[in-house]
Protein backbone atom coordinates (compact mmCIF):
# COMPACT_ATOMS: atom_id res chain seq x y z
CA UNK A 1 0.00 0.00 0.00
CA UNK A 2 1.10 3.59 -0.58
CA UNK A 3 1.39 6.08 2.24
CA UNK A 4 -0.26 9.48 2.54
CA UNK A 5 3.00 10.69 4.08
CA UNK A 6 1.18 13.00 6.40
CA UNK A 7 2.89 14.72 9.28
CA UNK A 8 1.23 15.30 12.62
CA UNK A 9 0.55 18.80 13.87
CA UNK A 10 3.07 19.84 16.51
CA UNK A 11 1.54 19.21 19.92
CA UNK A 12 0.38 22.38 21.61
CA UNK A 13 1.94 23.40 24.90
CA UNK A 14 0.67 26.01 27.31
CA UNK A 15 1.66 29.61 26.61
CA UNK A 16 2.65 29.72 30.28
CA UNK A 17 2.70 32.71 32.63
CA UNK A 18 5.38 34.52 30.65
CA UNK A 19 3.73 34.62 27.22
CA UNK A 20 4.02 38.40 27.49
CA UNK A 21 7.78 38.22 27.01
CA UNK A 22 7.40 36.77 23.54
CA UNK A 23 4.15 38.28 22.36
CA UNK A 24 3.74 41.64 24.11
CA UNK A 25 7.24 42.43 25.41
CA UNK A 26 6.67 46.17 25.68
CA UNK A 27 3.61 45.52 27.85
CA UNK A 28 5.73 43.54 30.32
CA UNK A 29 8.58 46.04 30.44
CA UNK A 30 10.96 44.60 27.85
CA UNK A 31 11.39 47.77 25.86
CA UNK A 32 13.69 48.58 23.01
CA UNK A 33 13.56 45.22 21.25
CA UNK A 34 10.45 45.89 19.13
CA UNK A 35 9.10 49.38 18.39
CA UNK A 36 5.65 48.35 19.61
CA UNK A 37 3.76 45.22 20.54
CA UNK A 38 2.08 43.52 17.59
CA UNK A 39 -1.69 43.76 17.46
CA UNK A 40 -1.85 46.91 19.59
CA UNK A 41 -3.44 49.11 16.93
CA UNK A 42 -6.13 47.62 14.69
CA UNK A 43 -7.50 50.89 13.32
CA UNK A 44 -6.22 54.28 12.26
CA UNK A 45 -8.01 57.55 11.52
CA UNK A 46 -8.84 56.40 7.99
CA UNK A 47 -10.41 53.05 8.91
CA UNK A 48 -13.96 52.70 7.63
CA UNK A 49 -16.74 51.65 9.97
CA UNK A 50 -18.25 52.21 13.38
CA UNK A 51 -15.63 52.52 16.10
CA UNK A 52 -16.25 50.16 18.99
CA UNK A 53 -14.52 49.11 22.18
CA UNK A 54 -14.66 45.50 23.27
CA UNK A 55 -13.53 44.72 26.79
CA UNK A 56 -13.75 41.70 29.00
CA UNK A 57 -12.17 39.41 31.51
CA UNK A 58 -11.42 35.69 31.41
CA UNK A 59 -12.62 33.79 34.49
CA UNK A 60 -11.65 30.34 35.69
CA UNK A 61 -13.99 27.69 37.10
CA UNK A 62 -13.91 29.28 40.55
CA UNK A 63 -14.90 32.70 39.23
CA UNK A 64 -11.41 34.09 39.64
CA UNK A 65 -10.18 36.42 36.88
CA UNK A 66 -7.14 35.26 34.93
CA UNK A 67 -4.44 37.89 35.22
CA UNK A 68 -2.06 36.17 32.83
CA UNK A 69 -4.24 35.48 29.80
CA UNK A 70 -3.48 36.69 26.31
CA UNK A 71 -6.36 37.30 23.94
CA UNK A 72 -6.23 37.56 20.17
CA UNK A 73 -9.12 38.59 17.98
CA UNK A 74 -9.66 38.25 14.24
CA UNK A 75 -12.51 39.87 12.39
CA UNK A 76 -13.74 41.16 9.06
CA UNK A 77 -13.74 44.82 8.10
CA UNK A 78 -16.86 46.99 7.97
CA UNK A 79 -17.85 45.45 4.63
CA UNK A 80 -17.39 41.88 5.85
CA UNK A 81 -14.07 41.33 4.06
CA UNK A 82 -11.01 39.78 5.68
CA UNK A 83 -7.55 41.32 5.12
CA UNK A 84 -6.12 37.94 4.11
CA UNK A 85 -4.81 36.30 0.93
CA UNK A 86 -7.51 33.67 1.45
CA UNK A 87 -10.14 36.36 0.93
CA UNK A 88 -11.21 36.15 -2.73
CA UNK A 89 -14.40 38.22 -2.67
CA UNK A 90 -12.74 41.60 -2.74
CA UNK A 91 -10.08 43.74 -1.15
CA UNK A 92 -10.45 44.55 2.51
CA UNK A 93 -9.98 48.03 3.96
CA UNK A 94 -6.20 48.68 3.83
CA UNK A 95 -6.54 50.78 6.97
CA UNK A 96 -7.78 47.90 9.07
CA UNK A 97 -5.61 45.02 10.31
CA UNK A 98 -8.44 42.68 11.35
CA UNK A 99 -6.20 41.25 14.05
CA UNK A 100 -5.62 42.39 17.59
CA UNK A 101 -3.70 41.04 20.56
CA UNK A 102 -4.02 42.11 24.20
CA UNK A 103 -2.83 40.82 27.53
CA UNK A 104 -5.08 41.01 30.55
CA UNK A 105 -4.25 43.71 33.08
CA UNK A 106 -1.88 42.37 35.75
CA UNK A 107 -4.13 43.71 38.50
CA UNK A 108 -7.64 43.01 37.22
CA UNK A 109 -7.28 40.71 34.23
CA UNK A 110 -9.30 43.04 32.02
CA UNK A 111 -8.40 43.59 28.36
CA UNK A 112 -9.77 46.14 25.88
CA UNK A 113 -9.72 46.19 22.08
CA UNK A 114 -10.36 49.31 20.05
CA UNK A 115 -11.72 48.19 16.73
CA UNK A 116 -14.65 48.59 14.36
CA UNK A 117 -17.87 46.68 14.11
CA UNK A 118 -17.36 43.92 11.54
CA UNK A 119 -19.65 43.42 8.58
CA UNK A 120 -21.43 40.14 7.93
CA UNK A 121 -19.49 37.27 6.35
CA UNK A 122 -21.07 34.40 4.40
CA UNK A 123 -21.25 30.84 5.64
CA UNK A 124 -19.99 28.25 3.10
CA UNK A 125 -23.54 27.63 1.82
CA UNK A 126 -24.08 31.31 1.07
CA UNK A 127 -26.24 32.22 4.05
CA UNK A 128 -24.92 35.21 5.93
CA UNK A 129 -23.44 34.85 9.37
CA UNK A 130 -24.25 37.55 11.89
CA UNK A 131 -21.40 40.01 12.54
CA UNK A 132 -18.94 38.37 14.90
CA UNK A 133 -15.38 38.51 16.19
CA UNK A 134 -13.28 35.35 16.55
CA UNK A 135 -11.44 35.07 19.88
CA UNK A 136 -8.41 32.94 20.72
CA UNK A 137 -7.42 32.62 24.37
CA UNK A 138 -4.18 31.30 25.80
CA UNK A 139 -2.83 31.37 29.35
CA UNK A 140 -0.98 29.38 31.95
CA UNK A 141 -3.02 26.22 32.55
CA UNK A 142 -4.58 26.24 29.07
CA UNK A 143 -2.90 23.40 27.18
CA UNK A 144 -4.24 24.32 23.76
CA UNK A 145 -5.58 27.71 22.69
CA UNK A 146 -9.35 28.08 23.08
CA UNK A 147 -11.35 29.49 20.20
CA UNK A 148 -14.70 31.17 20.51
CA UNK A 149 -16.81 33.89 18.88
CA UNK A 150 -18.34 37.08 20.10
CA UNK A 151 -21.65 38.19 18.61
CA UNK A 152 -23.38 41.55 19.06
CA UNK A 153 -26.43 42.07 21.28
CA UNK A 154 -27.84 44.70 18.90
CA UNK A 155 -28.01 42.18 16.02
CA UNK A 156 -30.84 40.06 17.39
CA UNK A 157 -32.39 39.33 13.98
CA UNK A 158 -29.10 38.33 12.37
CA UNK A 159 -28.12 36.31 15.45
CA UNK A 160 -31.43 34.43 15.31
CA UNK A 161 -30.55 33.28 11.78
CA UNK A 162 -26.83 32.77 12.27
CA UNK A 163 -25.76 29.37 10.91
CA UNK A 164 -23.42 28.74 13.84
CA UNK A 165 -25.61 29.98 16.68
CA UNK A 166 -28.63 28.07 15.38
CA UNK A 167 -26.78 24.77 15.22
CA UNK A 168 -25.92 24.82 18.94
CA UNK A 169 -27.96 22.04 20.49
CA UNK A 170 -27.97 23.60 23.95
CA UNK A 171 -29.57 26.90 23.06
CA UNK A 172 -29.35 28.02 26.69
CA UNK A 173 -25.59 28.36 26.09
CA UNK A 174 -25.95 30.79 23.17
CA UNK A 175 -25.96 33.86 25.46
CA UNK A 176 -22.35 33.01 26.43
CA UNK A 177 -21.40 34.05 22.87
CA UNK A 178 -23.22 37.38 22.89
CA UNK A 179 -21.55 40.48 24.30
CA UNK A 180 -23.28 42.93 26.62
CA UNK A 181 -23.69 46.49 25.47
CA UNK A 182 -22.27 48.76 28.16
CA UNK A 183 -22.49 52.10 26.39
CA UNK A 184 -22.38 53.79 23.02
CA UNK A 185 -20.13 51.58 20.92
CA UNK A 186 -18.92 49.78 24.04
CA UNK A 187 -19.28 46.05 24.53
CA UNK A 188 -18.26 43.67 27.29
CA UNK A 189 -17.49 40.06 26.50
CA UNK A 190 -16.42 38.00 29.48
CA UNK A 191 -15.09 34.52 28.84
CA UNK A 192 -15.86 31.81 31.39
CA UNK A 193 -13.51 28.86 31.08
CA UNK A 194 -15.46 26.39 33.16
CA UNK A 195 -18.66 25.87 35.12
CA UNK A 196 -22.30 26.72 34.88
CA UNK A 197 -21.97 29.63 32.47
CA UNK A 198 -19.04 28.19 30.59
CA UNK A 199 -18.45 29.95 27.28
CA UNK A 200 -19.01 27.82 24.20
CA UNK A 201 -15.61 26.94 22.72
CA UNK A 202 -15.30 25.60 19.20
CA UNK A 203 -13.43 22.74 17.59
CA UNK A 204 -12.80 24.39 14.25
Amino acid sequence: MQSLNRLKESPSQTAGPYVHIGCVPNFCGIEGVYPEDLGTAMVNEKTKGERIKVSGTVYDGTGTPLKDAMIEIWQADADGLYPSPEEHRGTADPNFTGWGRKAGDYGTGEWIFETIKPGAVPFPDGRMMAPHITFWVVARGINIGLQTRMYFPDEADANAKDPILTRIEHQNRVPTLIAQKTGDGAYKFDIILQGENETVFFDV
Binding site: G22, G61, H132, Q194
Partner: protein, 247 residues
Amino acid sequence: MSLSNQRPAGGIFARDRAWQPEALTPQYKTSVARSPSRALLSMPQTLSEITGPVFGHNMIGALDNDLILNFAKSGESAIGPRIIVYGRVLDESGRGVPNVLVEFWQANAGGRYRHAKEGYIAPLDPNFGGCGRCITGEDGSYEFRTVQPGPYPWPNRGNDWRPAHIHFSLFGQGFAQRLITQMYFEGDPMIWKCPIVDTVPHSDGIESLIALLDMDSTIPMDARAYKFDMVLRGKRSTLFENKLEGN
Protein backbone atom coordinates in the same frame (compact mmCIF):
# COMPACT_ATOMS: atom_id res chain seq x y z
CA MET B 1 -23.28 27.73 -7.69
CA SER B 2 -22.28 24.10 -7.95
CA LEU B 3 -21.94 21.99 -4.85
CA SER B 4 -18.17 21.83 -5.14
CA ASN B 5 -18.03 25.61 -5.21
CA GLN B 6 -19.83 26.02 -1.94
CA ARG B 7 -16.84 25.24 0.19
CA PRO B 8 -14.42 28.12 0.44
CA ALA B 9 -11.01 27.34 -0.97
CA GLY B 10 -8.25 26.46 1.42
CA GLY B 11 -10.07 24.51 4.12
CA ILE B 12 -7.86 23.26 6.93
CA PHE B 13 -7.45 19.64 7.98
CA ALA B 14 -9.47 18.65 11.01
CA ARG B 15 -7.43 18.87 14.19
CA ASP B 16 -6.56 15.48 15.65
CA ARG B 17 -7.67 16.15 19.20
CA ALA B 18 -6.47 12.72 20.34
CA TRP B 19 -2.94 13.78 19.41
CA GLN B 20 -3.21 17.09 21.23
CA PRO B 21 -3.24 17.59 25.01
CA GLU B 22 -6.56 17.35 26.81
CA ALA B 23 -7.74 20.52 28.51
CA LEU B 24 -7.88 18.83 31.93
CA THR B 25 -4.49 17.42 32.95
CA PRO B 26 -4.46 17.24 36.78
CA GLN B 27 -0.70 16.67 36.99
CA TYR B 28 -0.48 20.26 35.71
CA LYS B 29 -2.52 21.75 38.52
CA THR B 30 -3.39 25.09 36.94
CA SER B 31 -5.32 23.26 34.22
CA VAL B 32 -7.85 21.97 36.75
CA ALA B 33 -9.78 25.24 37.10
CA ARG B 34 -8.91 26.54 33.64
CA SER B 35 -10.14 23.63 31.50
CA PRO B 36 -13.54 23.76 29.84
CA SER B 37 -15.66 20.93 31.24
CA ARG B 38 -18.02 20.72 28.28
CA ALA B 39 -17.20 19.23 24.89
CA LEU B 40 -15.86 21.63 22.28
CA LEU B 41 -18.54 22.44 19.74
CA SER B 42 -17.73 21.23 16.25
CA MET B 43 -18.48 23.65 13.46
CA PRO B 44 -17.82 23.87 9.74
CA GLN B 45 -14.87 26.05 8.84
CA THR B 46 -15.91 29.39 7.46
CA LEU B 47 -13.96 32.33 6.12
CA SER B 48 -13.51 33.44 9.73
CA GLU B 49 -11.33 30.39 10.40
CA ILE B 50 -9.52 29.86 7.10
CA THR B 51 -8.40 33.47 6.76
CA GLY B 52 -5.77 34.93 9.03
CA PRO B 53 -3.54 37.94 9.48
CA VAL B 54 -0.46 38.42 7.32
CA PHE B 55 2.84 39.76 8.59
CA GLY B 56 5.35 41.24 6.19
CA HIS B 57 9.08 40.61 6.24
CA ASN B 58 9.57 44.36 6.43
CA MET B 59 8.31 44.48 10.01
CA ILE B 60 11.25 42.38 11.20
CA GLY B 61 14.16 44.34 12.64
CA ALA B 62 17.78 43.41 12.00
CA LEU B 63 18.31 41.95 15.49
CA ASP B 64 14.86 40.48 16.03
CA ASN B 65 16.22 36.95 15.53
CA ASP B 66 19.31 37.46 17.68
CA LEU B 67 18.56 37.13 21.39
CA ILE B 68 22.26 37.36 22.18
CA LEU B 69 22.32 40.97 20.99
CA ASN B 70 18.76 42.31 20.75
CA PHE B 71 18.59 43.42 24.40
CA ALA B 72 22.31 43.82 25.05
CA LYS B 73 24.15 47.04 25.65
CA SER B 74 26.36 48.12 22.81
CA GLY B 75 29.51 46.00 22.72
CA GLU B 76 28.10 43.46 25.20
CA SER B 77 26.20 40.20 24.76
CA ALA B 78 24.04 37.75 26.68
CA ILE B 79 25.75 35.16 28.88
CA GLY B 80 25.29 31.46 28.25
CA PRO B 81 25.94 28.63 25.81
CA ARG B 82 25.57 30.20 22.39
CA ILE B 83 23.24 28.29 20.08
CA ILE B 84 21.55 28.62 16.73
CA VAL B 85 18.03 27.24 16.47
CA TYR B 86 16.86 26.57 12.96
CA GLY B 87 14.35 24.47 11.08
CA ARG B 88 11.24 24.66 8.98
CA VAL B 89 7.57 25.25 9.54
CA LEU B 90 5.72 22.59 7.57
CA ASP B 91 2.09 21.70 7.18
CA GLU B 92 0.68 18.22 7.65
CA SER B 93 1.18 17.55 3.94
CA GLY B 94 4.89 18.16 4.40
CA ARG B 95 4.95 21.44 2.51
CA GLY B 96 6.99 24.31 3.85
CA VAL B 97 4.76 27.15 4.97
CA PRO B 98 6.10 30.55 3.90
CA ASN B 99 5.49 33.87 5.66
CA VAL B 100 4.75 32.35 9.05
CA LEU B 101 5.35 34.77 11.89
CA VAL B 102 7.42 32.78 14.40
CA GLU B 103 7.76 34.37 17.84
CA PHE B 104 9.89 32.83 20.59
CA TRP B 105 10.64 33.52 24.22
CA GLN B 106 12.68 31.90 26.92
CA ALA B 107 14.43 32.13 30.28
CA ASN B 108 18.07 33.16 30.39
CA ALA B 109 20.94 30.70 30.75
CA GLY B 110 20.31 30.53 34.51
CA GLY B 111 16.62 29.70 34.06
CA ARG B 112 15.35 33.17 34.99
CA TYR B 113 12.71 35.07 33.02
CA ARG B 114 12.67 38.82 32.67
CA HIS B 115 9.15 39.21 34.05
CA ALA B 116 7.54 40.98 37.02
CA LYS B 117 5.86 37.78 38.21
CA GLU B 118 9.04 35.70 38.09
CA GLY B 119 10.48 34.78 41.49
CA TYR B 120 13.32 32.32 40.85
CA ILE B 121 16.52 33.22 42.70
CA ALA B 122 18.72 32.80 39.61
CA PRO B 123 19.93 36.25 38.52
CA LEU B 124 18.78 38.32 35.59
CA ASP B 125 21.29 38.82 32.82
CA PRO B 126 21.34 42.57 32.12
CA ASN B 127 22.05 41.81 28.47
CA PHE B 128 19.27 39.30 27.90
CA GLY B 129 15.62 40.19 27.23
CA GLY B 130 14.37 36.80 26.15
CA CYS B 131 12.20 37.48 23.08
CA GLY B 132 12.73 37.22 19.36
CA ARG B 133 10.85 36.72 16.11
CA CYS B 134 11.25 36.00 12.44
CA ILE B 135 9.17 35.20 9.38
CA THR B 136 9.63 31.96 7.45
CA GLY B 137 11.11 31.99 3.96
CA GLU B 138 9.56 30.51 0.84
CA ASP B 139 10.43 26.97 1.95
CA GLY B 140 9.18 27.51 5.49
CA SER B 141 12.67 27.90 6.94
CA TYR B 142 13.56 30.04 9.93
CA GLU B 143 16.57 30.54 12.17
CA PHE B 144 17.64 32.53 15.17
CA ARG B 145 20.53 32.85 17.58
CA THR B 146 20.24 32.75 21.34
CA VAL B 147 21.74 31.30 24.50
CA GLN B 148 20.59 27.93 25.72
CA PRO B 149 17.99 28.53 28.46
CA GLY B 150 18.41 26.95 31.86
CA PRO B 151 15.91 24.66 33.61
CA TYR B 152 13.88 26.27 36.38
CA PRO B 153 11.71 25.18 39.30
CA TRP B 154 8.04 26.10 39.41
CA PRO B 155 5.26 25.78 41.94
CA ASN B 156 3.16 22.77 41.01
CA ARG B 157 3.88 19.57 42.90
CA GLY B 158 6.53 19.51 45.62
CA ASN B 159 9.61 19.65 43.41
CA ASP B 160 8.74 20.24 39.75
CA TRP B 161 11.29 21.67 37.35
CA ARG B 162 10.81 22.65 33.75
CA PRO B 163 13.29 21.12 31.34
CA ALA B 164 15.23 23.71 29.35
CA HIS B 165 12.81 24.97 26.71
CA ILE B 166 11.98 27.71 24.26
CA HIS B 167 8.37 28.82 23.76
CA PHE B 168 7.13 29.27 20.17
CA SER B 169 4.08 31.02 18.73
CA LEU B 170 3.12 30.42 15.09
CA PHE B 171 0.65 31.94 12.64
CA GLY B 172 -0.30 29.86 9.62
CA GLN B 173 -2.37 31.14 6.72
CA GLY B 174 -5.65 30.60 8.56
CA PHE B 175 -6.50 31.63 12.10
CA ALA B 176 -7.51 28.00 12.78
CA GLN B 177 -3.83 27.06 12.38
CA ARG B 178 -2.79 29.30 15.27
CA LEU B 179 -0.46 27.38 17.57
CA ILE B 180 1.70 27.88 20.65
CA THR B 181 4.15 25.16 21.61
CA GLN B 182 7.54 24.58 23.26
CA MET B 183 10.86 23.20 22.09
CA TYR B 184 13.01 20.93 24.27
CA PHE B 185 16.64 19.88 23.94
CA GLU B 186 17.90 16.44 23.00
CA GLY B 187 19.21 14.48 25.93
CA ASP B 188 17.65 16.54 28.73
CA PRO B 189 16.58 14.10 31.49
CA MET B 190 14.11 16.67 32.85
CA ILE B 191 11.85 16.27 29.79
CA TRP B 192 10.47 12.99 31.09
CA LYS B 193 9.80 14.36 34.58
CA CYS B 194 7.82 17.43 33.50
CA PRO B 195 4.04 17.55 34.06
CA ILE B 196 3.63 20.12 31.26
CA VAL B 197 5.47 17.92 28.76
CA ASP B 198 3.34 15.08 30.11
CA THR B 199 0.15 16.82 28.94
CA VAL B 200 1.08 15.59 25.44
CA PRO B 201 -0.68 12.23 25.26
CA HIS B 202 1.63 10.33 22.90
CA SER B 203 5.35 9.79 23.38
CA ASP B 204 5.78 10.34 19.62
CA GLY B 205 4.22 13.74 20.13
CA ILE B 206 6.67 14.53 22.90
CA GLU B 207 9.58 13.37 20.73
CA SER B 208 8.38 15.74 18.00
CA LEU B 209 9.02 18.65 20.38
CA ILE B 210 12.64 17.69 21.09
CA ALA B 211 15.21 19.47 18.95
CA LEU B 212 18.28 17.59 17.79
CA LEU B 213 21.84 18.79 18.19
CA ASP B 214 23.20 19.30 14.67
CA MET B 215 26.99 19.46 14.80
CA ASP B 216 27.16 19.91 11.02
CA SER B 217 25.38 23.26 11.32
CA THR B 218 27.47 24.37 14.27
CA ILE B 219 29.61 27.43 13.76
CA PRO B 220 33.04 26.30 15.00
CA MET B 221 34.38 28.20 18.00
CA ASP B 222 31.11 30.15 18.18
CA ALA B 223 27.70 28.47 18.49
CA ARG B 224 26.25 24.97 18.41
CA ALA B 225 23.11 24.36 16.37
CA TYR B 226 19.78 22.71 17.17
CA LYS B 227 17.32 21.74 14.45
CA PHE B 228 13.64 22.08 15.26
CA ASP B 229 10.85 21.62 12.71
CA MET B 230 7.27 22.50 13.54
CA VAL B 231 4.08 21.35 11.86
CA LEU B 232 0.89 23.33 11.38
CA ARG B 233 -2.47 21.87 10.40
CA GLY B 234 -2.63 20.95 6.73
CA LYS B 235 -4.63 22.73 4.08
CA ARG B 236 -6.93 20.91 1.73
CA SER B 237 -6.09 20.97 -1.91
CA THR B 238 -8.72 22.78 -3.90
CA LEU B 239 -9.43 19.78 -6.13
CA PHE B 240 -12.74 20.07 -8.00
CA GLU B 241 -13.11 23.68 -7.11
CA ASN B 242 -12.75 26.70 -9.30
CA LYS B 243 -9.24 27.78 -8.60
CA LEU B 244 -8.76 31.47 -8.19
CA GLU B 245 -5.11 30.88 -7.57
CA GLY B 246 -2.80 27.99 -6.84
CA ASN B 247 -2.69 26.53 -3.38
